[in-house]
Assembly symmetry: C2
Amino acid sequence: MYSVKDLQSLISVEIENEIYSLNQTEPKNLYQPVGYALSMGGKRLRPVMVLMAYNLFSENVENAFPVALAIELFHNFTLLHDDIMDGAEMRRNNLSVYKKYNENIAILSGDAMSIMAYNYLLKCNSTEPAPMIRLFSQTALEVCEGQQFDMDFENRLDVSIPEYLEMIRLKTAVLLACSLKLGAMAANAPEKIADQLYNFGLNLGITFQLQDDLLDVFADQDKFGKKIGGDIVSNKKTFLLLKALEISDDSTKMIILDWMNKSDFDENEKIRAITEVYNKLDIKGITEIYIDQYYKLALDVFTEINLAGETMTELIQLANLIMNRDH
Amino acid sequence: MYSVKDLQSLISVEIENEIYSLNQTEPKNLYQPVGYALSMGGKRLRPVMVLMAYNLFSENVENAFPVALAIELFHNFTLLHDDIMDGAEMRRNNLSVYKKYNENIAILSGDAMSIMAYNYLLKCNSTEPAPMIRLFSQTALEVCEGQQFDMDFENRLDVSIPEYLEMIRLKTAVLLACSLKLGAMAANAPEKIADQLYNFGLNLGITFQLQDDLLDVFADQDKFGKKIGGDIVSNKKTFLLLKALEISDDSTKMIILDWMNKSDFDENEKIRAITEVYNKLDIKGITEIYIDQYYKLALDVFTEINLAGETMTELIQLANLIMNRDH
């Protein structure tokens, strides 16, 4: 069985080959941006999840490369279009696609990536590709729904915690879940186990996003890639903010809302003030409880399906990789 | 066998139902724009082509409704994103989606439509859906390629006629071809006939686009929906313009290029001047020869496959519908 590290190396080589071939393909203004978008990827978490799930049932992980590439293409398509929507000029220390090329090229290259994801999925020589395509396509639509809920939340102050959890389930968790299940399906795994891997990925995905929210405020600046407090500055409706609004008394709530309404402010001052509120309300402790609960839900899967010790180790290694952040 | 008119009515009811259900679906900001985009459609040419091809082999056309809807969703997705890219504020006398809502909503709703097209295709209870999805997905990517070539042409003066024909094959013709072939495949038609219907649609599609180019300049203003000469005003690389640049002598070419370089001009004067050049070069006659040739290529299909008289009549009726314009 391959280690997470092995799988990362294997899929990185595949993606490099894909980028090379994209750069030779006409029309260049369509396919080079696709290659550029793929070249920015970090830990290749989702394709590694495909391969790892496949590897639980079969050694020939190269058979699942097309599925892994499909998921990586789709994920990077969502990042590409999200960057246009968010006006995000940078991604992982590179210019985002719409900044490097232009917005029209970014829209169309994103469209092509989404379609190419299906084409890759169709290359997988599974016995019956339709159920895999059905799961992927359903998941893809859910990711769009999650993104729309997230955008809707920008204009709302009354987002509840259940609404927030549903949004991150759709926007983030289902694609991680789908990655694992597709890998299992490509290896013709028993349906029950494939479903359990889906649940594992789903709960891990929610854990992952909650931790992402937490790290924005409470990470160690030295280890954190971005500036601490970015979500606070932009009034992003994170779990932390929504929980604080939920549990604070009227006067504390006013402090939060006042800061959210300011258009002219010192960023560090705002970060300090909101963090102080979070500390007063022990938002960090509360968030960590949620994180632990979802993490436990994820690991509960192992009590329901029988997995070899080696497999367990790999899945827990994967969970650690995910929780380590830097996606 | 259903007439073109019958099929138009049948699919219109289906689309109305779809719009109604989209308007009830959350998140509303994702699905209402999809319904709005669908509500603007004209003659429903492509879904009618799906149903007609299906109807050549089977009476139960309702079995092909999901495929017809998939094609209509995909086609309207391309219009939606094209309108953003072109900055087109109006579509068929309505505000375009990005104008009615906003650009972010338009990008994301378009993404969802493209994915929903696959979901509809997967609903078709054909014996083997994978080959249908493969054809659709390949076609979808070709449409993106065609759109990129079209955008690339904006910045070029040396576009050759073969390059132009390849662009319209990708941007317009393959989707018409795919619509017919998918209808045939959904009815388990013999592969050879499905392929010939594809060729019929492909050549008809090229004919259709060439006629579209011609009508922009030489249509009867009373019957033409838009202002005559829009392509001339915007320097669009149409067949007419490219042919004129190809065959004109140096002094005539200079007249064209001078008008193309002007940023401040009277639109009617430019239309008059370029039309005069076209008349001098008999661009209308030359374009009509190409139109006739591709139309003949389309009809040649009927000499290779044996079709009942009634079927022939229907397909020629379809060809007339397409050539009638108002897409």
